[in-house]
Point group: C2
Chain length 217, copies 2
DNA sequence: ACTAACTTGAACATGCCTGTTCGGGTTAAA
DNA sequence: TTTAACCCGAACAGGCATGTTCAAGTTAGT
């Protein structure tokens, strides 16, 4: 279902699509998809259960058209999530994760913070409407990134080895999201958040008996 | 509205209630309220958006009766939240929070863990259906408990002083909830969770330059 | 026995959201 | 100009949840 978008009239189209010149025939479609996704991100960022009708209206597009591209609400949310995560992943690709694991983590937090903070509510919507396993799968690459750094830190002896690695990863994500909530509620200075998160995480990841490092901006 | 429960027939009753013997006239009502609350906790613990109808059925009570006591769904959720928090508060009252702040925190985490773990989903439901300010108000006493310990720790020089206190409190709650989620998802050993949370928190609350303490069971 | 307090299932009114269908546009390639 | 591919608003169908109302019990005090 998700893979067979159809026009409002209900004509089939995937088969004929093979011809080369047709690929450019209607670039509008892709433009529409883009605006829908944009609008969806925008609305879902404010209200995790904005209706499909609202999203269509905000996208300046008919509800029917929307359903033409995303045959179900879950499809739409999934697409939004995927795009968001992909963007995030691209941003994170530009972040240097080599060198001292502590500094690498600090840099990663700095880069991630903006994203998490911005798309907090989208993630929330996805979490509520998509199967948990799907969320996991989409997050996999980002998750692995954190895991790698933690791993390196453990082997280098600068991160603690006495707790399950999975848990440490959870701690990283959990604090980011908590900060995002607090920031949205006005209880935490948004501009200072990255520093605060990093400082907390570095301490949390330090092994008992070791000395907590200071953060460098 | 919330303060004027009425029978299904719609007869007024609050005024006549003043007479002494009438207080015991119908203890069923209170028994019913109790079963409703019990059932609500039970269902909401599994599914944060169980319907009122489901809850009534699980309580072995007519839907109308339920609406007689809680005139709206929000009312019910609020009552459930209040009762849960009150129970939690009572449990926490029995916990010794004197002495070394680090040990006090460890004990508090141990006592809280069971509660958070058990009522995770209830909290989630409340968070979604009640105004944020109300949640704050209800949580106030528990929150203050944590805050007090952190405060004492800071003054004693064993907890960090370089981050906002509000944030440190957030960290405590955030890690508890994250652990509850992980535990529910099977990614974290429930019996070991309290220790892991405490170990993480102690490290996170340690000041840069200081040495991370080891946990004692 | 009488009655007030309380309970009940059935049924109704509303409202909101999802997903579909219809009939009629628009645009650009052929 | 024809036509395929796409777009639109309006309107319908169905579901599910919240509250309300009704007419008929039940139970415990008096």
């Amino acid at each position: 279902m998700a893979a067979t978008p159809r026009g409002a009239g209900g004509r089939p189209r995937s088969a004929q699509r093979a011809a080369a010149p047709l690929m450019e025939r209607r670039a509008d479609a892709r433009r529409n998809i883009a605006s829908i996704l944009d609008a969806a991100v925008l609305l879902l960022s404010c209200d995790a259960d904005a209706s499909v009708a609202d999203i269509a209206k905000a996208a300046g597009v008919g509800r029917v058209t929307l359903y033409g591209h995303f045959s179900t609400r879950a499809d739409l949310v999934d697409a939004v999530l995927t795009r968001t995560v992909e963007q995030a992943d691209a941003t994170l690709d530009a972040t240097d994760t080599a060198g001292d694991p502590r500094q690498a983590l600090t840099r990663l937090v700095g880069a991630s913070w903006q994203i998490v903070h911005q798309f907090r509510s989208v993630l929330q919507a996805a979490q509520r409407e998509l199967p948990a396993e799907r969320i996991r799968a989409v997050h996999d690459r980002i998750l692995r990134r954190v895991q790698t750094i933690i791993d390196r830190g453990r082997q280098a002896g600068v991160f603690r080895d006495d707790l399950p690695e999975e848990w440490l990863v959870t701690v990283v994500f959990s604090l980011m999201h908590a900060a995002a909530e607090d920031s949205a509620a006005g209880a935490l200075d948004t501009d200072d958040a990255a520093r605060i998160i990093a400082a907390t995480l570095l301490a949390a990841l330090t092994a008992p008996g070791a000395t907590v490092p200071t953060v460098n901006p």
